[in-house]
Amino acid sequence: MSHMVSSVARTDRLGQYLLGALLALPFLYIAVFYAYPIYKVVSLSLRDFQIAYGIDDWIGLGNYTELLSSAETWRTLGRTLLYTAICVSVSFGLGLGMALLTVSLADAFSERFGRAFRHIVIAPMIFIPAAAGVMWAFAYTEHYGWVNHILIALGLQAYPWLVSDAAFFLVMVTDIWGWTPFIYLILLAALQSLPQEPIEAARVDGANAWQVFRYVTFPLLKPVIVIALTIKTLDTYRAFDYLWIMTNGGPGTSSTTLNLATYKAAFQNLDFGKASALAVITMIFPLTVMILFLTFRRRGAK
């Protein structure tokens, strides 16, 4: 604790121990509930561990070779990345659009109007994801859901949406609906705290709206965008609720992402060994991204 900015720890030996303990406590907790499970999941992934059948044998990389040689695993990985890519990019586009719209509304009408619009846009955030999941699943039912009602009103046929190939993409719609406000809020906050001078200067210099955005606003927003996209990407990658509640990963495995595959292997098939191997595979991507991000940010800070 010798490198304390405040003098508190430096001047009090007892205080040093106390602060050490204050720091040690949560990390002890993290050691028990994070570090140990990480160690454990890696070690379990090297075993054929099926608790219900009393099987618990060390099989080395057996689970991995089995998983990595299965086309389904690669399809699952592809699906996970597709889900992440689509949800993140569409949410980003919509979020940015609505943030710009909010600023324009406040500018063209009144601050209050902008605020009211903001309240509307973030409404999905006040719904528990599980509730949003059942709500959207309901919307796709043939006889009660408004999606089919609209189709029928338009003279089209109703369609069993969630038991079709469309299901995977419909979960994405829910994800986008539920999480666009996240990106929106961050971008809006950033937009509203942008220095006005460069934008005004650009206007005076004769830039049109698009040029102001392209050459001034967007570059100024860039650091925030990088952070928002990183967090959103990793959060989407971890997505579980919507997929599980709306489709259970189906039909078949057509909406099973790595998260769901891990969950199913563990808690439906009770194959803890294989589930652990999947869990490790699932972790690799976010941990790599995180480490790259932190290195990048460190360099940026220097």
Partner: protein, 281 residues
């Protein structure tokens, strides 16, 4: 601002489109919560029966047999609040001191530990599910409030520390030094200076932790066997093998959003900070 009529009209049009996109699913679902199973519209129309029965029967399990789940979400509300409450206590108690040290300390070790928090926050929860399940059941804590809140504490601790650090960063170190010179010990500095000044921050962090626990689904579903089901599990549970009570499910969904609603009024302006773990202020 002098803007052309076309410009303003197209802005309004876009705003209406965005509002439709976010609000329409709610509106439809809200209508469902206001009717009874036999009266959920089967075509694009308004339900012919409007009643608050779904709310009372979801809340008290008082609905008529056969057309109601006969299931009260009151115990689930209590479960949710107890688990989230314990999680808030865990995160604040564990996180406050660490946040202080992170805020005031400068060393490579601290920097590494602090980044570790971000890595922990971004680890897919499902990757920890198996070992945590085994641990929690080995200690006989599955299907208990404590067991679930121990896990939720783990999940939210990084965010809590991150947020609290942000707030403590805003407290000038001179205040601590003044207190030191005034004769305070480290504990007294924390007790009389940092804690009262960080109190709004603690409240905001507590809100985030509370909500994170309140909406968490996966661990709540893995670790519960029924008697400690939290609200999300109960809501999803209306969709059972036997029957789906859409109207009560909708009513329960709308009732469950009350704490989130309050939160947006109480700490909404800290949203961004919480969402990005303070990376963007």
């Amino acid at each position: 601002m002098n803007r052309s009529f076309t410009y303003r009209t197209s802005l309004l049009f876009l705003a209406a489109l965005a509002a439709l996109w976010t609000l329409f699913p709610f509106a439809w679902y809200f209508l469902v919560s206001l009717t009874t199973p036999g009266h959920i519209p089967r075509r694009f129309s308004f339900p012919d029966v409007l009643t608050l029965d779904s709310y009372t029967s979801a809340l008290f399990g008082s609905g008529a047999k056969g057309i109601s789940a006969n299931y009260s979400i009151l115990p689930n509300i209590i479960n949710s609040f107890v688990v989230a409450g314990l999680t808030v206590i865990g995160c604040t108690v564990l996180g406050f001191g660490a946040a202080y040290v992170f805020s005031r300390g400068r060393s490579t070790t601290l920097a590494v530990l602090f980044n570790a928090l971000l890595v922990i926050r971004m680890t897919p929860a499902v990757s920890l599910a198996v070992p945590i399940y085994l641990m929690i059941s080995a200690y006989g804590l599955s299907d208990t409030h404590l067991g679930l809140s121990l896990v939720h504490t783990m999940l939210s601790l990084p965010l809590a520390i991150w947020l609290l650090k942000g707030f403590i960063d805003g407290i000038p170190t001179e205040l601590e030094e003044a207190a030191l010179i005034d004769g305070a010990s480290v504990l007294q500095v924390l007790r009389y200076i940092i804690l009262p000044l960080a109190a709004p921050g603690v409240a905001v962090a507590a809100c985030f932790v509370f909500l994170a626990s309140y909406v968490e689904f996966m661990f709540a579903s893995i670790l519960s066997r029924g008697s400690s089901d939290t609200l999300p599990i109960a809501i999803a549970g209306y969709n059972s093998d036997h029957q789906t009570f859409y109207n009560e499910m909708a009513a329960a969904s709308f009732m469950s959003m009350v704490p989130l609603f309050i939160f947006f009024y109480f700490a909404g302006r800290y949203m961004v900070r919480g969402l990005t773990m303070g990376a963007v202020k």
